[in-house]
Every structure is written in C-alpha cells, then in structure tokens.
C-alpha cells in the first residue's frame, strides 16, 4: 500500500483558515500598502501549494479506493456487507453468483430475505445477537440460503465487524461459503 502524505486534511484546513484570516486582516488594514500586497501574494501562493497537496491526496485516495474495491469485488469468496440492521449495502461478484441475482435486486434488501423460510427465525436470532454484541455468539454458523429463483443451498456464514464507507459507523461483513 502506498504511504499517505503525513499531513492530514485537518492540518491543511486549519492552516488554510489561518492564512485566509491573515489575508483579510491585511486587506482591511493596509489595502494600498505595497508591503501588505506582497505579503498577500505570498499567502496566496502558500494557499495554492496546500490546495494542490489536498488535490494530490484526493487523487491518491481515489486510486487506492479503486484498487481495494477491486479486491472486494473479485475476491474468490462470496462477501456481503450489511448495515447494523442487516440490510445489504454491498455484494461482490461471487456473492451475486451465489444468490443468482444482479446487484440491483440485492442492494438495500434485508439479508434475511435470502434465507430459507424454515431457517429465517434462527438466522434473525443470531443476527440480532450480533448487533447487540451478545457474548457467546458463534462467529460462524450454517443456514440455508434461498436464491430469488427459490433454490436452497446450505451455506456457512462467518461474520466480522467492518466500518461502513458512507458513514464510517459499524457494519457487518459476511462471508458465505457453500457447503457440499
């Protein structure tokens, strides 16, 4: 992984705000003073440098996002990411193949919708236990998955916590492994 610049956006924002305040004060105090004009030009140059640095950081993050998003999309295992309420936020290619559904028919739906009816109560009980951090909940268990076409498939679910990309708050990453 490439190293990120040491300076954080917060540092940049604080600095640019300080430069801006300085420029305004100079403007008000001595608009016609050549010395003040020169100081302002320097401040503007500094602002340009910081602006470019932040843009560079945005470009770097964009490249890294695309790269790691590819690792998720094309992982050899089926993965789903849900919010704490169990609604599917993301599904990778292997998961869509397992569910036999396009992303549009999966995203936003409760994961329990894809569990065979006879296993749904047990699945929801375990899911709610996970959401409330119940002690002793096994990190993996088996349930029958039901595709949109109605076919059932025994799957081992393994879960772990993951920060959601939209909010950074806690979501759940589900690994679905079909059992023979």
């Amino acid at each position: 992984m490439s190293a990120l610049p040491n300076r954080s956006p917060d540092w940049l924002l604080t600095t640019v705000s300080a430069v801006r305040e300085l420029m305004i004060r100079r403007l008000e105090a001595a608009a016609a003073d050549p010395e003040a004009q020169r100081e302002m030009e320097l401040a503007l140059e500094e602002l340009d440098v910081m602006w470019e640095e932040l843009q560079g950081q945005a470009a770097l993050l964009t490249r890294e996002n695309e790269r790691y998003a590819q690792f998720f999309q094309f992982a050899p295992d089926a993965y789903l990411i849900t919010d704490a309420g169990g609604n599917i936020r993301e599904a990778n290619q292997a998961a869509l193949e397992l569910l036999k559904a396009p992303l549009g028919e999966v995203a936003g739906k409760p994961l329990s919708m894809f569990i065979a009816p006879e296993d749904r109560v047990g699945f929801l009980t375990r899911s709610v236990g996970l959401m409330f951090g119940a002690a002793g909940m096994p990190p993996a268990w088996r349930s029958r998955l039901q595709t949109l076409e109605g076919a059932a498939l025994e799957v081992e679910f393994a879960v772990r916590a993951i920060p959601l990309k939209k909010s950074g708050i806690g979501g759940i990453c589900w690994l679905l492994r079909p059992r023979a």
Binding site: R20, I24, T62, N65, Q70, F71, F72, A75, A158, L175
Partner: protein, 137 residues
C-alpha cells in the same frame, strides 16, 4: 477580494469533505482485505504479487514488503511449479473449463505446506488475479 476568498473557502471545504469521504471508503475496503480471516494474495497480469493480506503473510511466512513484486510461483514448491504455471496460464488466458481451484504445495519458511488454491480473475482495467490460499486441515 473578500468575496473571492469566501468562494475559495467554500471550494476548499468541498474538497476537504471529498477527501474525508474517500478516506472513509478506503478504510472499509482496506479493513475488508487486510483483516480477512482468509489468506488472500493479489497478483498482477505478470503473476507478480501486488498485495497480500495479514493472513497470507502468516501462510507464506514472509514479510509483506518481501512478498510485493515477487512472482507467486516462487512460493510454490519446486516440484509443483510447472503445474502451477500451467494452471495460471489457463486462468489468465480465460480458457473455458480452466481449473479455478486445485491443491498444491507451498515452500513456506523452509517447510512444505499443502494448500488449496482458489483463483478469480479481476475483470477490470489492469486485470490480475485474486487468490485464496487455504492450508490443508
């Protein structure tokens, strides 16, 4: 001039928000990959390792910085390497019916480690292959 500064400030805040969002997105995918219980290795189209997660580092028994840039083939036991290269060539060429899962033997930390290999092609610009290395029970 003051108005221009205000516009600059608004533009700056917009970019700052964008960077924060990108950082949050990166964190999700980074944590997904790095903290997966399964050992994943990503190779480029030329078969060299571009990334390996924490679990893969444990399986291959090499530091991450040592893994990057090395052909994955060099971590396969010598007597299985030709078989590995044949499989990999088949996957990269998109041969119909090319095996995506097979067993092989790693040469890791001076020991022979039997593993199941599962490969999936990254069907996007740049390509490459994402591998799962699963030590035999």
């Amino acid at each position: 001039m003051t108005q221009e500064l205000e516009e600059l400030r608004i533009a700056w805040l917009g970019l700052k928000a964008q960077v924060d969002q990108l950082a949050a997105e990166r964190q999700q995918y980074l944590e997904f990959f790095e903290n997966a219980a399964e050992a994943y290795v990503v190779t480029a189209a030329d078969g060299c390792i571009v990334e390996a997660n924490g679990a893969a580092v444990d399986v291959l028994q090499r530091r991450k910085r040592y893994l990057r840039g090395k052909p994955l083939a060099v971590f396969i036991a010598l007597d299985r390497r030709t078989d590995f290269r044949n499989h990999m060539a088949g996957i990269a060429a998109g041969q119909a019916g090319a095996a995506r899962h097979w067993r092989t033997v790693l040469a890791a930390g001076g020991e022979r480690v039997e593993v199941g290999l599962t490969a999936r092609v990254i069907e996007q610009a740049g390509g490459g292959i994402c591998w799962r290395l699963e030590p035999a029970q």
